[in-house]
Symmetry: C2
Subunit: 402 residues, 2 copies
């Protein structure tokens, strides 16, 4: 028996240490970011599929019969999910009405949804009528894994609706998680959705969204770390736009220009990631003040190293200065050159200090979230288990729909 209505949520991700160095064979640590995408799925009998993406202003409705016409591009595949084929992508582009080859965020989100709906439908021989709303706390295009959170949520919801994974409800818990092999299936499908959106993604974002906690990423291999603590952070978006591709190319050029100067810096960043991995286990056993001051030191050192690699930016210097003036330690996260920074908050930090730092960051024109890292991955929720703010968001949609 399938559930008629449920809500899933999926975290974003931040790179704790090892951004850029990972491109050159070093270890990176990615952690879940507790800004989440929330998806509500309702099964219906009206023979329609509704996709509502309020962050993008997208409200689409298709007859299941219409989607059937696309189905020929999605043959039943008995094996593991593979990559989307060029023919499938071409068919999806035509269907969503991409003109002049220019594909925007909305196009990509709709294509990923349709791809997953049709592939999963073909695989499990069912194209259900349903209404899906995805609302996200994550800013889009800020390197925080918003597309992975979207894909993982869609996949978990569709696989659950099709009965391909179980309904992991627990009587007492406000949220529940799937079993390991189900998570593996969710992650594999979500990676295919990521390929629609990003072409050649690393797979780190969907893995973090699926498993939550922290992951070690090294030479293309992703390993989930066991028992990682949740750590409080301030996430700040400088809103300075940047090109990850150009930043990565800049680092490569700098390494080629000064190999003897830059390679040791990558070695040092690698050691920082490994020391941080060791510390996260340590914090879990014994969350002493010492652990936190070392985590802070590692933030400071890596921020200097990232500046040496040439991926700093005056907006990030400003972010670090502002937080340092409140005794807090920050580093850029992800590509750099603007984008986001994370600030570690000790468990015992004075709330007034955090508030003052946030106000000052906002006065710089930055967006700022007090949240945590290391939170659970894709989860299923009772409506009543959602925090009030999210309940209100869904109630607002409800009113708008009717």
């Amino acid at each position: 028996m399938l559930a008629q209505e449920f809500i899933v949520s999926c975290p974003g991700k931040v790179i704790l240490h090892g951004e850029h160095a990972v491109v050159h064979g070093k270890v990176a640590l990615a952690v879940s970011l507790n800004l989440r995408s929330f998806l509500r799925l309702r099964c219906s009998k009206h023979g329609k599929v509704l996709l509502n993406l309020p962050n993008l202003g997208t409200h689409l409705k298709w007859e299941v019969a219409t989607l059937q016409t696309l189905k020929t591009a999605f043959p039943v595949d008995a094996g593991d999910p593979k990559s989307p084929s060029p023919e499938q992508i071409a068919a999806l582009k035509e269907f969503v009405g991409v003109v002049n080859g220019s594909v925007d965020t909305e196009n990509l989100a709709v294509m990923a949804f349709l791809y997953l709906y049709l592939s999963i439908g073909a695989k499990y021989r069912v194209l259900p009528s349903l209404e899906i709303v995805v609302w996200s706390e994550l800013p889009i295009g800020a390197g925080l894994g918003s597309s992975a959170a979207y894909n993982v949520s869609i996949v978990a919801a569709l696989l659950t609706a099709c009965g391909a994974v179980g309904f992991p409800a627990q009587a007492d818990a406000e949220s529940a998680r799937w079993a390991a092999e189900e998570l593996h299936l969710i992650n594999t499908w979500a990676f295919r959705g990521e390929k629609i959106i990003h072409g050649n993604p690393s797979g780190v974002d969907n893995a973090v969204g699926t498993w939550g906690g922290a992951l070690r990423y090294h030479a293309g291999k992703i390993t989930s770390l066991e028992r990682v603590p949740e750590l409080r952070i301030l996430l700040t978006n400088t809103k300075v736009p940047r090109s990850t591709k150009l930043l990565v190319a800049g680092v490569r050029d700098k390494i080629l220009k000064f190999p003897d100067i830059l390679n040791p810096v990558l070695t040092s960043i690698d050691a920082i990631s490994q020391e941080c991995e060791r510390l996260l286990k340590e914090v879990n056993r014994n969350p002493s003040v010492d652990c936190f001051s070392v985590l802070e030191e590692l933030f400071d050192i890596n921020q200097h190293h990232l500046n040496v690699l040439g991926v700093g930016h005056p907006s990030l210097d400003r972010l670090c200065q502002v937080t340092a003036s409140h005794g807090l330690h920050s580093k850029l996260t992800g590509a750099g050159g603007g984008g986001c920074g994370i600030t570690l908050l000790r468990p015992d930090v004075d709330p007034n200090v955090v508030e003052a730092a946030k106000q000052e960051l906002k006065a710089c024109g930055y967006e700022c979230w007090e949240t945590c890292i290391g939170a659970p991955g894709i989860s299923l929720h009772m409506f009543s288990g959602l925090k009030e703010e999210v309940q209100k968001v869904f109630q607002r949609f409800e009113k708008a729909e009717h």
Copy 2:
């Protein structure tokens, strides 16, 4: 025949790259700083020795016969100059009236002078009557080698007055330098003077003062680099006091705490020093814009590394920010934790830019000099060859004396 009156000048020094790393077996580059100590020596027949140190407010006069009483502590030594003995130091302390074991800058300067006067006198069997004035452009105790400039000047003047080194006057030149073996003798004696003031100096400061240009310092071995260009710089003293000893200990502790993270940083600093050494030769052959932009990049990278080592300071961050806002690149020089920073000035820099940066640095409460590095070491001058400002200083003393 000995000259009756002459003027010598000696440069200070700055560390271009490798401060702190040198303590851990890496290469450091020390360069002469064209803020100089000027010494005027006048031979007289009045049987007196006058020492005038206007920077310290010191005006002393002794009968040569009185100094003879100290001479028993300074036996004729046929070999190379050795270290001052504990007995000599004790005799000098008593003579200058050190009370309670507390030795101030003036005491040390006078002890070094008397030590050199008596040792050189004993060696060359002459205690001349003379008047010495030493006036310095260098701030004292700022890590800029002011004591070495003092000692090298005194030694060059005394050895010249005793006839132990020749009088290198050239008819056409405004200043002249001694021959290599004479410079070696000057440096060896000056190192003894440095031992009086610093106890256990590295010998780098007196070597830079003697030879000028640039020196490579590695594992206790000092090598003079050939044909180093003069480079324009801004030298800024933040005037934030610091303890070199504590800073060095802090770096050592940090390396012990995070060996895998910090040792690669030392390796990178080593590579910076070596790249800079290569570039200095390159600039001399072909002073292209490219060379200067690489020198600037090396400044930026090393400044980040020094911050990683924990020897940065908000006052130095400020210095770097102010100069960066004018398109100029800076790093701390020496011990860090405050103290001095150097800013590279390209040959074609707009004077208005330099002036604006200087004004802004002065507004921070910093002291600022526009000067150059790589200038000649100890030199002998015609009075007429001195820059007008220095001529005026000596003319002012003249009036005050008579």
